[in-house]
Each structure stands twice: as structure tokens, then as C-alpha cells.
């Protein structure tokens, strides 16, 4: 398990290669990269700055990964989240999950992303033509996380 909060860019290929290096038991690696877009809520976005809660952030991400690992049989998980100022097109977050079978890898990867969106203490501030604005939390993110609690 690898959990990192950093301002530098990450390398998806290198992270996934590191997961599978020297192993022959992994059948599936599902991964996700979230990127900064040039538009949000109908407005152009020139840049964004990600603030976080140092100390709690790493704990919160580890809890998400533990929750996924208790729900599915996982072989490895990597979560990297960037902080600081990012431009449109820049990668923000990486989640990669290795498992024996694809169903578990896909489910755990999406689960971690859905909970990260509602549980991990990051906040985005966007630079728009009308000035800076804090991004508001979305009800759709709460709904995405809540569906994992259904039977």
C-alpha cells in the first residue's frame, strides 16, 4: 500500500509498473487519474489551488484504502493526491488497485475515488474570469459514496 500527498506530478506508468514488478499473482490492475479541467460549473478555469489538512489527509486516505481492503481481496493499492497550484490538463489524483480478478479491482478503485471525494480533507479553489472561488461540494458525490452502503 502506497499513499502519498505531494505537489509534484506523478507517473501513472511507473506507479503501475512498480505494483506488478516481480509478481505473477496479479490478474487485474484498475486505475484512475483525475485531471484539472478548463471548465467547471459553466465557467472557465485558468488554474486551481488544492489545499489540504496535513496529518489528517494521510490518515483519511489510509482509512479509505483499509475500508476497500476489508471489502474486497486486494493485492496492492496506490493513492497519490497532489496539492498546490495546478493548471488545466494537470493530473490531480491517482488511484491504482491490483487484484486477482477484474471485478474486485474495478469496484475497489471506484469505491476509493467515491469516498475520497467525500472523506479526504482536500479543498479546491478555482481561478475564474469572475475571480477566485472555492469549489462547492456536489450532492452527486455524496450520492456516489452512499451507493456503496446499499445491500
Amino acid at each position: 500500500m502506497r499513499i502519498v500527498v505531494q505537489s509534484d506530478a506523478f507517473d501513472l506508468g511507473a506507479e503501475v509498473d512498480a505494483m506488478r514488478q516481480g509478481r505473477t499473482d496479479i490478474g487485474a490492475i484498475a486505475s484512475f487519474v483525475g485531471l484539472a479541467r478548463d471548465m467547471n460549473d459553466g465557467s472557465g478555469v485558468a488554474a486551481m489551488t488544492l489545499e489540504h489538512y496535513p496529518g489528517m489527509t494521510e490518515k483519511a486516505l489510509a482509512r479509505l484504502v483499509d475500508a476497500a481492503a476489508s471489502r474486497w481481496t486486494l493485492l496492492d493499492v496506490t493513492v497519490i493526491h497532489r496539492v498546490g497550484r495546478l493548471l488545466p490538463g494537470d493530473p490531480i489524483v491517482l488511484v491504482a488497485v491490483a487484484a486477482s480478478h477484474r471485478g474486485e479491482a474495478f469496484a475497489a478503485c471506484e469505491f476509493i475515488m467515491d469516498y475520497l471525494k467525500t472523506q479526504a480533507p482536500f479543498w479546491k479553489k478555482e481561478e475564474t474570469p469572475a475571480g477566485d472561488r472555492w469549489v462547492e461540494a456536489r450532492a452527486s458525490d455524496d450520492a456516489a459514496a452512499a451507493r456503496w452502503n446499499q445491500p
Binding site: V93, L116, K117, F122, W123, V135, A137
Partner: protein
Amino acid sequence: MRLHVLYFARLRERFGVAEETLDFAGTTAADLVAVLQARGGAWAEELGGGRAFRVAVNQDIVALDAALPDQAEVAIFPPVTGG
């Protein structure tokens, strides 16, 4: 008891403070929120019920009825928007 209180993102900006140490006579997170809200202005606007916020105690998000231990690190922040 003594609390170390942190504010993040919009709340940090609106309150004009990132952290403070408080002497606190109450018991729960709700009691602390009531104390802060009574400061008026942005404090009343942000914590007075109209806008959503979250409280973490020692880096775990808690419900408002959670008891605050002495020397706790309490953080108050808007709903998160990372990812």
C-alpha cells in the same frame, strides 16, 4: 479544557484565522460551534446553520454531539472537494 482549533479553505479565509488555542468550558463539538458562532459576523454566517461544515476531532470527522477531550485538535472546514 484547552483546545487547539484549526480552520481550512473557505472558513479559514472568511474567519481570517488558520488556527487558535481556546480555553473551552463546554463538552461537545456542538458546544464549541455555539461559542464560535456567538462571535457574530462571518462566524455566525458560516456556522449558524445556513451552510454545511464538518468537524474533525484529532483528525477524525465526528458528529456534532461528539465529546471533546482536553488538548484535542479540533478542525472545522467546509465539505471536502478534492479528487
